[in-house]
């Protein structure tokens, strides 16, 4: 099974928009889940698992709503597990590997600040369900943002080793931040019709918020001319295929079963 836009008919655009939002949480949650049981301390392990849990909780709300909107009968799990790689709309940032704990934190930090600003606006969606999901999620994400920012601070202003590692992670992931603010088709349509967020407008505030933490962390703000993009159009990095082959394994191997 593979779900395509034409299966969604009239709600196709809105469903695409929901996927564009929810896939970020899905893939970031999947990455965070990889860390469970392997964290640097038990406390951090628990906190990271918590973030994964929040993200998957959000994913379920979004996908359940999208499944309702779809004309062709489908479930949250069909949306989560049965699309092909090219049909996932998450930004490249969230699929980047957990190279080490600095990358885990930098990825989360760079996404959380966007996520917070995004949900803050999504609360004003003219779609009551999206607005409600945003209201519920923003409390969680506000905690994520504090957690990841605190760790950027600790690592940046910690030891010389940790400073080097977090700076490298921030530098390596920085080229993926621009994509957060470049709308895909579904996002443009969503703004037009009033249920979506005008993400381009969030960039300045994002920049300020992120830079503030970096500076407080005694880190340098990367300067880049070139950015990476593609995820939102389903053109992912080579990491994505491996992530999906594990994530989809059960649903692909045992099609149509209940778990």
């Amino acid at each position: 099974m593979s779900l395509k836009k034409h299966d969604f008919r009239e709600n196709g655009d809105k469903i695409d928009y929901i996927l564009t939002i929810a896939d970020n949480s899905l893939i970031l949650g999947q990455r965070m889940g990889e860390l469970t049981g392997h964290g640097p301390t038990l406390e951090v392990d628990i906190a990271c698992t918590n973030i994964a849990l929040d993200l998957f909780g959000q994913v379920r709300s979004y996908f359940q709503y999208a499944a309702q909107l779809a004309e062709k009968s489908c479930t949250e799990d069909d949306l989560a597990f049965l699309r092909t790689e090219r049909e996932y709309k998450n930004v490249l940032l969230v699929e980047q590997p957990n190279t080490n704990f600095a990358y885990v934190i930098a990825k989360q930090f760079l996404f959380d600040h966007y996520h917070f600003l995004f949900l803050n606006e999504l609360q004003n969606s003219n779609d009551a369900t999206l607005s409600a999901i945003a209201k519920k999620s923003i409390k969680e994400v506000s905690y994520h943002k504090r957690f990841s920012s605190d760790w950027v601070l600790r690592l940046g202003d910690g030891t010389s080793v940790s400073k080097e590692k977090i700076q490298k992670a921030i530098n390596d992931l920085w080229p993926f931040t621009q994509e957060l603010f470049e709308p895909n088709e579904a996002e443009e349509k969503a703004v037009e019709l009033g249920y979506g967020v005008d993400i381009a407008k969030l960039q300045e505030e994002y920049k300020q918020a992120v830079e503030k933490v970096l500076i407080e962390s005694t880190l340098e703000v990367p300067v880049f001319e070139f950015y990476q993009r593609g995820g939102k159009k389903g053109v992912h990095s080579e990491h994505m295929g491996y992530l999906l082959s594990d994530m989809q394994y059960m649903q692909r191997t045992y099609p149509g079963m209940k778990w």
């Binding site: 999947q30 889940g33 990889e34 469970t36 049981g37 392997h38 964290g39 640097p40 301390t41 038990l42 406390e43 951090v44 392990d45 628990i46 698992t49 918590n50 994964a52 849990l53 998957f56 909780g57 994913v59 379920r60 996908f63 949250e76 799990d77 989560a80 597990f81 080490n100 704990f101 601070l153 600790r154 690592l155 202003d157 910690g158 030891t159 080793v161 940790s162 590692k165 992530l243 594990d246 994530m247 394994y249 059960m250 649903q251 045992y254 079963m257 209940k258 778990w259």
Partner: protein, 318 residues
Amino acid sequence: MSEKEIKNLEAIFEAKIARDEKIEPKDWMPEKYRKTHIRQMSQHAHSEIVGMLPEGNWITRAPSLRRKVALLAKVQDEAGHGLYLYSATETLGISREELYEQLHSGKAKYSSIFNYPTITWADIGAIGWLVDGAAIINQVPLCSTSFGPYARAMVRVCKEESFHQRQGYEIMLTLANGTPEQKEMAQDALNRWWWPSLMMFGPTDDMSTHTEQSMKWKLKRKTNDELRQQFIDQTVPQANILGLSIPDPDLKWNEERGHYDFGPINWDEFWQVVKGHGPCNKERLQTRVDAWEEGEWVRDAAMAYAEKKAERKVKQAG
């Protein structure tokens, strides 16, 4: 302290236990009591932490979002159990670092059951149902053990464990009522986890040490064999509801005893795993050591940052 004074303290201590009062960290306690508790409680904490790994193995591959969330939450609970069991152990005057060091060097043990691999999704169900089921039977009596911090930690642990156990059983139920392939998967998991679960209660009573002392301190209230029998008696009817067969041809109800009779346990396998030669002993330990070593720079950074912050505060205050 004079010998008399010690005798006196011992008498007070034993009277307290006899009256079912709790021993608290600040109370006087015999050195052996302290050592035994450090050993058992840390072993218990280590089991929670190592126990995260076989289940964690299926987080990225859980078959539905609902199951993924439940599994994440379960593994997180285990981390939580580890956390408060370590904290409770620390009240006995040993540091978390020392406890980890004992685990990582192989000096401390953890429950052998976690040295078996989780090779299908049904194993996640079987672990919840059987392994948590066995753990609860071992642990419920500890909720009223004599050492206060341990008893209180166990109250919380047991509550969550029963939730996990029901969740595991529900996974098995879904599989057992699913397609033939799913039912086969469930049966296969039961086949592989049944005997190791029985081994969780330890050697038979005639081979077991420490029992008398542990009984006195309320670290134990029933013998290994009694607990094992309780587990079997409780689990067989559950398997029947699932429509799955217990992989023991000798298993049958003994009307006279009022219990199930069961076949011989492979104690060679038990000792092989205890001695470190189970299917996953090496990997489990290596995974923990790797996580710890790879996390060192992170812990160092957090420490350094906290110190800097404290210094700044002092400066500001001064």
